[in-house]
């Protein structure tokens, strides 16, 4: 490829992302979601360095401090929990754990599920049948129940929680990757590679994987909100990650016993779970529309067509 065509290719790619960005700005919901998520990620990554102290230091003088008062400084604007720890700081620290677990689980199931699915689709035959039957087993059993049983047995540490959450999402990726692979397998360049004697492993890595990966990424974006909800549900039932680490779900559970006297202990962490999943869903919705040529016009002419 000559340098000039490469430059043209890059430019068109750049232009495409500019177009996409303009389309994003035109959708107020999606714009707000992106801003919220970016802020959240920034807080989750850098916040705990500064806020670890107020999030974990007990101060009985500030027990169940009510929210929306700046008397004790901005850190206590969302109140304090039953041990006098700043709710705002705890939400930021909890965000880091929640997001880290969810991203770990999504990454794990995307990679493992993708590889298993591609393998099943490419090899076919009875291996594929067995794999698909096993995914049926996973699907036909309530994921939360399975996670509860398994975590109770192997113990809820960080690795196990990530693994079991990822395990629950596996069927989604296996099915998607397999379906895609079934189609790609029949294409000319794959047959050509096979005829030239390229090994199965090399074909999968070099020819199938790059084509399946974008689809899996989209699935992951849609799946992320679901995994966050699943994780928080587990933590809420007490089988998520254990103290001293905590996630938003565990904070909601901890606040339950003070429901009558200090509603903000349960309310705010859950509210942030919802803001996060809502933003992710809004963004995924927009992404689906923006990448689907049949629906794209809705975004570009949405404003003019208002009745």
């Amino acid at each position: 490829m000559s340098t000039s065509t490469l430059a043209a290719h890059n430019r068109s790619r750049w232009e495409r992302s500019v177009v996409l960005f303009r389309m994003l700005l035109r959708d107020p919901y999606a714009t707000v979601s992106v801003i919220f998520l970016l802020m959240l990620v920034a807080c989750a990554v850098f916040g705990p360095f500064y806020l670890w102290e107020p999030a974990t230091n007990m101060d009985l003088g500030k027990r169940n401090l009510p929210p929306f008062s700046l008397a004790h400084g901005f850190l206590y604007v969302l109140g304090a929990d039953s041990l006098g720890r700043s709710m705002l700081a705890r939400i930021v620290v909890g965000a880091q754990t929640s997001l880290a677990i969810a991203s770990g689980a999504v990454l794990f199931s995307m990679i493992a599920g993708g590889l298993i699915g591609i393998f099943a689709g490419y090899v076919g035959g009875w291996t594929s049948t067995i794999i698909m039957r096993l995914t049926d087993v996973i699907i036909s059993f309530p994921s939360l129940l399975l996670a509860l049983i398994v975590l109770y047995i192997i113990g809820p540490n960080l690795f196990n929680v990530v693994a079991i959450l990822g395990f629950g999402a596996l069927p989604l990726y296996i099915r998607t990757a397999r379906a895609e692979t079934l189609e790609i397998r029949e294409r000319m360049f794959v047959s050509a590679a096979r005829t030239l004697g390229v090994g199965t492993f090399a074909i999968i890595v070099r020819h199938v994987l790059p084509l399946v990966a974008p689809t899996l990424t989209t699935v992951a974006a849609i799946n992320f909100a679901g995994v966050i909800l699943a994780e928080s549900g587990l933590s809420f039932l007490g089988l998520g990650i254990q103290p001293p680490d905590f996630t938003w779900g565990a904070m909601v559970a901890a606040g339950r016993q003070y429901l009558q006297t200090a509603w903000w202990l349960s309310f705010f962490p859950g509210f942030f779970i919802m803001l996060t999943t809502l933003s992710l869903n809004l963004l995924a919705n927009w992404l689906r529309m923006a990448t689907d040529p049949h629906q794209r016009w809705r975004l570009s002419i949405a404003r003019e067509s208002e009745r």
Binding site: D136, S140, L144, L229, F236, L259, S266, R298
Partner: protein, 305 residues
């Protein structure tokens, strides 16, 4: 059709057996029941005797054989904690869960189809945008948090509904809504999406061109959007068990989820297995029902693959 259903049933029963084996092995790994059911000062010999007596010292394959043998003449084992038939303890909780999930499922289906179809009839309109936003919020809400906020608002602040427990209809309002909320949000989006694509298909345009009224057109389109709705609704019914566990925990209902969680915590193996068996059979029946529904809704499905 019968042959198709039989084949599907065979396929699903493989899944069922796989699940039972997995749960059997997994529960045996939860730890030694002797340490939980004998006093702390029990000697090693007493523990061994207890394990022998209950059959826990045999190899796991022998234990499994015994379990399957029991299943064949409907012996599901004895609950160690409650000293009675494990199945009895589980069956007691079944009506609660069935009532909870079937109420929630009906609400989900009715609301989602009505709202989704109406929203799709005028895409981009006021109602559509409201429905889309609200259904997204519903699909994003963590169910346990909704349950707690519900308690805060309707029980603590307004004193309209009881906080938890079992009893008359007022005890069921919040649990049912909590279980139904997320599925309703998801299904509304599915119905809306399929309806929009069906409404722009040629046969609907023909019907409109021939002067068919708005409502009749909607009815036409609704029929053909049943298929994806049934697919999603089937997955959703399985997911309702997840919601029921949360709702039963928060609202103190004595359902399958509660029984199962308690049994896991107490290492009551027989109860765990019986509960899983019942849930799995329920899902098994549900899957077959869905397959039959497919055939009824879409005659193009020929049942030969």
């Amino acid at each position: 059709m019968l042959q198709f259903i039989l084949r599907r049933a065979l396929n699903s029963s493989i899944a069922l057996v796989g699940l039972l084996v997995a749960v059997f092995v997994l529960t045996r790994m939860t730890g030694d029941p002797a340490s939980l059911y004998l006093p702390a000062e029990a000697t090693a010999e007493q523990r061994a005797a207890y394990a022998d007596q209950m059959g826990y010292s045999d190899p796991i394959i022998v234990q499994f054989g015994r379990y399957v043998e029991g299943l064949l003449h409907f012996d599901f084992g004895t609950s160690m904690r409650q000293q009675r038939s494990a199945m009895e303890a589980v069956m007691e909780a079944v009506p609660t869960t069935i009532l909870l999930s079937s109420l929630a499922f009906s609400i989900t289906l009715v609301v989602a189809v009505a709202v989704g179809a109406l929203a799709a009839s005028r895409p981009g309109g006021i109602f559509d945008r409201m429905a889309t936003t609200i259904s997204l919020v519903g699909a994003s809400a963590p169910d346990f948090w909704v349950a707690i906020v519900g308690v805060l608002v309707f029980a603590v602040a307004l004193n309209l509904l009881p906080t938890s427990g079992m009893g008359g209809p007022q005890y069921w309002v919040m649990p049912v809504i909590v279980v139904a909320l997320r599925p309703t949000g998801l299904l509304t989006q599915v119905v809306r999406g399929t309806m929009i694509s069906v409404l722009s298909s040629p046969y609907v345009k023909t019907a409109k061109a021939k002067g068919l009224g708005h409502r009749a057109v909607l009815g036409h389109a609704l029929r053909s959007s049943w298929l994806p709705v049934i697919t999603v609704a089937g997955d959703m019914a399985v997911g309702m068990i997840n919601g029921s566990i949360i709702a039963e925990t928060v609202f103190g209902l004595h359902g399958m989820g509660k029984v199962l969680i308690d049994a896991i915590m107490q290492r009551d193996f027989a109860v765990v297995q019986s509960a899983v068996l019942i849930i799995a059979i329920g899902i098994f029946v549900l899957n077959i029902l869905i397959d039959v529904l497919y055939g009824l809704v879409d005659p193009r499905i020929r049942y030969n693959k």
